[in-house]
């Protein structure tokens, strides 16, 4: 666990960090983000004491980092930088094993660590261990950079815009890999970026900084839904289909579907259906509460033998409540063969129905703006 307690930093007259306090629990992926000069990189570098605070304390796993030997401290914290920084005079294996060697692990252990780590990112030991950084692509180099940070199994890993120098495709691949590795190895990661998409994709918690202070610290979904300020909101930008706030069922339903009360007669309902061009009616009880649906099929099959629609009502149709995420409904409609889903209010009255058509309409308007 990392705790910042009232940490401040000045350079000359300007204040870089202003009474910063926050906590990072174990195993969390924390992302520091904010406009240029907000102090995110400074904050990161205070954890491994590449920059020292002017005031305040940083407690790592219960110990005051300021009291520890900085060199020792850094050997137990992984560090990945944007310019990669693989030592060109060392092979991949030697680079990965830099910290283990500093901690005096023996040769076999180092080789084993290298082998395991390389496997995790699909770079076979036999081909890659002996290569030099200049013989690798940018993406491969940064992978090794990440492995180097992980080699001595530090509980905490710091990353300073590690993928900034890579092309978008490689960046995406590496983001996935890092997220996977973090979950697999249960590391605490503190990650600096200026790319909001990256932050939203990777973070468990986002720490949004501005002018050396915390603007907002929240999980991605919360930040998206409730940005704490205009600055955060502008950073979040226009919500896009996959990353915006989830669409809810009430956004894509048709309100006022055809409904009847259970008192109505069979013939009446059949006529109603014929006139309206629908093949189902929703049925409510005396209190307007949802009872079920009346499909035309049932009337055809059993209508002559009964004099009330009640025995013809079925509850086989799926229902959802207002406020639920529409995505599940969409998938259901795609996969199940059903043509609609009923949306109920909290009090069981009918809110609307979602058909494939109504779904399609909302998707289109979300992607391309309002349609007719």
């Amino acid at each position: 666990m990392i705790q910042f307690e009232h940490v401040s930093k000045n350079y000359g007259k300007s204040t870089i960090l202003h009474d910063l306090s926050f906590t990072v629990p174990d195993g969390q992926f924390l992302i520091l983000i904010g406009p240029s000069g907000c102090g995110k990189t400074t904050t990161l570098k205070m954890i491994n004491r590449l920059i020292e605070p002017d005031a305040g304390k940083i407690i790592i796993d219960g110990r005051d980092a300021g009291q520890m030997n900085p060199v020792e401290l850094r050997r137990h914290i992984g560090y990945v930088i944007q310019q990669i920084g693989l030592f060109p005079n060392m092979t991949v294996e030697q680079n990965i094993c830099v910290v283990p060697k500093l901690l005096q692990y023996d040769k076999t252990k180092c080789a084993q660590i290298t082998r395991e780590l390389l496997e995790m990112v699909n770079l076979p030991y036999d081909s890659y261990a002996g290569k030099y950084p200049s013989e690798l692509s940018g993406g491969q180099q940064q992978r090794i950079g990440v492995l180097r940070a992980l080699a001595a199994s530090p509980p905490i890993v710091l990353m300073d815009e590690p993928f900034g120098a890579l092309d978008p495709m490689t960046r995406e691949t590496l983001q996935e890999e890092v997220k996977k590795l973090q979950k697999q190895l249960n590391k605490t990661i503190v990650f600096v970026t200026h790319d909001m998409d990256e932050a939203l994709r990777l973070a468990d918690t986002i720490l949004f900084m501005n002018g050396g202070k915390i603007e907002q610290m929240a999980p991605p979904e919360e930040m998206l839904e409730h940005p704490a300020s205009d600055l955060v909101r502008s950073f979040l930008g226009k919500p896009r289909a996959a990353e915006s706030a989830p669409i809810r069922v009430e956004d894509c339903m048709r309100r006022n579907p055809y409904r009847v009360s259970k008192e109505r007669g069979v013939l009446e309902c059949a006529e109603l259906m014929a006139r309206s061009g629908v093949d189902t009616l929703l049925v409510t009880d005396g209190n307007e509460k949802y009872l079920g649906v009346l499909p035309i099929r049932n009337i055809r099959l059993y209508g002559r033998t009964v004099d009330s629609i009640v025995p013809l009502i079925t509850r086989e149709v799926r229902t959802v409540r207002v406020g639920e995420d529409a995505r599940g409904v969409m998938e259901y409609l795609m996969n199940s063969g059903d043509s609609y889903v009923v949306v109920l209010n909290g009090d069981d009255t009918i809110a609307g129905i979602i058909t494939k058509n109504s779904m399609a309409r909302i998707v289109a308007s979300t992607l391309w703006g309002e349609t007719t």
Binding site: L50, L73, I81, F87, N89, T91, S134
Partner: protein
């Protein structure tokens, strides 16, 4: 030709050995001194080197004869005079190249090294020096070649070496003597230079060669 060798052969052989001895000892001393001082200088703030480096460059232009002459007046006709003078001269190229090599290591490697938890000494030996090695050896090469040249001056104070032949030849206008001294000196310089070239190539791990500049 044959008569030349019968008369001068032994003397030539001796001169070559003496000359080589001066060169090897002085370059070794100069290398160690230059390396240490270069490392020291690179740790000082840039202000120092901005002042010191030009001064050193200028010192390098002091003709060898001045140095040997001055030392001779102090220390007399001992091998120490030659060795001290030559060692001091051999120091400069190594010092300068060590300094330049170390300061040219890209900051990201220094940052990665610190971030990994290397102490300053470890960063120096495991990252900075290896990366600066090609440049440092370049300095050693320069140093060696200059020293072969300056060692000729040893005979100015009667301490042997190939300069004996050159001086006598120049004074008595005997071309054969001049050439007898000049050519072995040239060969020695070329051979030592080639040796160091080979060493330079060997010292660069494969991974640096693409980044290495001539």
């Amino acid at each position: 030709m044959k008569e030349f060798f019968s008369v001068y052969g032994a003397m030539l052989g001796r001169s070559v050995l003496v000359h080589l001895g001066y060169v090897l000892l002085s370059v070794a001393a100069g290398f160690i001194l230059g390396l240490l001082l270069g490392i020291l200088l690179s740790r000082l703030p840039a202000r120092w080197s901005a002042v010191l480096l030009p001064i050193l460059s200028v010192f390098q232009t002091i003709p060898g004869i001045v140095f040997i002459g001055l030392l001779f007046l102090e220390l007399g006709m001992t091998p120490a005079t030659v060795l001290i003078a030559l060692s001091v001269y051999a120091t400069f190229p190594v010092l300068k190249n060590t300094y330049v090599g170390l300061t040219q290591v890209e900051p990201r490697y220094l940052e990665a090294a610190r971030g990994c938890g290397m102490s300053p000494a470890q960063a120096l030996t495991r990252v900075e020096l290896p990366l600066a090695l090609p440049t440092i050896i370049g300095g050693l090469r320069l140093s060696t070649i200059y020293t072969v040249s300056w060692a000729v001056l040893a005979s100015m104070i009667g301490l042997g070496g190939l300069g004996d032949f050159i001086y006598q030849g120049v004074a008595s206008n005997n071309n054969l003597l001049i050439v007898a001294g000049a050519i072995p000196a040239a060969i020695m310089a070329v051979v030592l230079g080639a040796l160091l070239d080979w060493l330079q190539r060997k010292a660069i791990p494969r991974g640096l060669r693409k980044e290495a500049r001539t």
